[in-house]
Symmetry: C3
Subunit: 256 residues, 3 copies
């Protein structure tokens, strides 16, 4: 896809989000809940977060348009909520996004992410280390940061997409989205986006909103990557430090 | 009450909060804890949040001036903390506010809110769908948003106030506060307040601070509604996008 | 130490943090997780937060450079994670910071903090009430605020340092750091720092990053106190209200 095609696709997905207000159940780590909800609100999606397995399944049946599962602060209690939600989304055909934070580094979440793959996520979003780990390759992560560039994980992403049936979005300096066949490179963003906690995790929720409003999971991934990158680049122009950048990023998402 | 009387009442309650620094135990959903604590600090109330049932009861006995129970991310664990705190507040006569987020939509929290009503909240704050659901009427909520205007719930609010003994605050484009007899309409606010996660939930904590410092629960509800609406309207004048609006709202609460 | 020596020490520690990006596992209360992670990112440390005991121990073994344990919203579940992490840090010799929020006021956390002392924290950070309570003195706390000035706790801090083997940092209008022998007074900061939730708690994580990059725990405590105080004073000059001050504080930490 050309840059102009990517921009046009993203604009169309964003317009649909602003018209349909997709309700996105975000089961995410405890650190990033506020910025995740605020990022969804900035694009006029409707965020919901829950902590009970029964409620998560019930909400998805009643009115859920998309689901995010982010394992950043996985616990025995949250594991049950996530499993119930992913199963329900799978049954209903509701699109759902897996964000396998630090998979491959810590053994508990690595096993749980493997289990979740069987519930057929619609999209998997991760940095290069995470995507390579999930694809079964050895990759050295360090905490939640990737130690390799996103371009190193393009082949792993393609393999993972083919085997899992999910679209895969590898984020980094350049983002790469693939459905196993096509690979789309999306430029944009700004290094300050890694200096505010939760921008990457909130992107998982934005992915869920985009996938819920796009024609294909790949198109949703491309749109989410472009929308966030564009807002990030604009925000950095007027807010060159991380505290004010966080507010400017939400402002720019609202203005897009 | 006239607009001038509402303004004067709110000013007097705010002055008392700034003098007495009421300690408000906020048992609230995991998404909105930072903005809830920051809203209390902006009016110079003293926020405390806890996750253990024994500690919640102990704190209320030692130094609690008010309590908020918000069921937005209810869990089996948090349910126990909330029950212990509400029971203790009821025994001690400490004012407490119930924010029945999405009651009527999800069955687990609906049953729990019904149980909490027996512990006699001092004030119930909700949107129209929530107040109608709690009053036993059918109302279509969607996620955490109301699908009907606040004016539709005035009669339900009055009924709920009479039967529960609580004052009731229905929030929406216009807020309505009632003790079952008097109904006060409070204008103000700005649509951006619904574009920042937790403004409504944090208002529940502000209600608890106001009720702790007002002569009647109804007066506390009116004051909280006016204070937040006034700060929101002022903040929107200089911060027309949600990221910077969130900071401006706290600034304006501090400046009131 | 003279003010000039303190400034020079802090500059050197900050330079090391920006070069080494120490990975700090922050097990902290649920209210302050975003600002804690953002404060670490603002000085270019690498924040991680986890909710599972096995994962916490595993991460420390793999790549942890420091640990914060903050008991502000202690629960039976979190207690296990904290115990596992503190034990692992103790075994590995990884520096760890204890922030005993409201110790002495609430009995559950008071007993748990006493237990944690046996695991030899490297640094203990608290307000005057907390340090006096931990030193075995009676001190009237109220919620999470101290009711006495930091200078009242200098002797208690010294005793606590001698008996526990930890450096102790008492925070207040003036901060005092001690290793049981030397006492260093650090001026700076601004009252607005108490009007934003989590600044004090996030300072515990900053302490862990500084201790991980300083020659002694005392030097780390002095550096953390100076860095945050300097950023706070600068932020208050251009952001005199708490909402915008929170963003300005992170901006100034980035600019130091």
């Amino acid at each position: 896809m050309t840059d102009e095609q990517i921009r046009s696709l993203a604009g169309s997905v964003l317009t649909t989000i602003r018209a349909k207000h997709p309700l996105i159940l975000s089961l995410t780590n405890s650190v990033v809940q506020p910025i995740t909800a605020n990022m969804l609100l900035a694009v006029e999606a409707s965020p919901v977060m829950l902590s009970d397995a029964g409620e998560a399944a019930e909400l998805l049946r009643l009115c859920g348009n998309g689901l995010l599962v982010n394992v950043g602060t996985l616990s025995r209690t949250q594991e049950e909520v996530m499993r119930a939600a992913a199963r329900t989304a799978h049954e209903l055909g509701t699109p759902w996004v897996l964000d396998p934070v630090a998979v491959g580094l810590l053994s508990y979440r690595t096993a749980f992410c493997a289990e979740l793959l069987a519930l057929k996520p619609t999209l998997i979003r991760g940095n290069a280390s995470e995507i390579m780990a999930l694809a079964g390759l050895d990759a050295a992560g360090r905490g939640t940061d990737s130690t390799v560039g996103s371009e190193s994980a393009v082949e792993a992403a393609r393999d993972l997409a083919r085997r899992s049936g999910a679209a895969v979005l590898v984020t980094g300096e350049t983002d790469y989205a693939t459905d196993g066949e096509t690979v789309v490179a999306i430029q944009g963003g700004h290094p300050l986006m890694t200096r505010v906690t939760g921008v990457g995790c909130a992107m998982g929720a934005l992915c869920a909103a985009c996938v819920a409003c796009a024609e294909t999971p790949l198109a949703g991934a491309v749109a989410a990557s472009f929308i966030l990158g564009e807002a990030g680049a604009r925000a950095a122009e007027r807010a060159p430090h991380p505290g004010s950048f966080a507010a400017a990023l939400l402002d720019e998402l609202d203005r897009l």
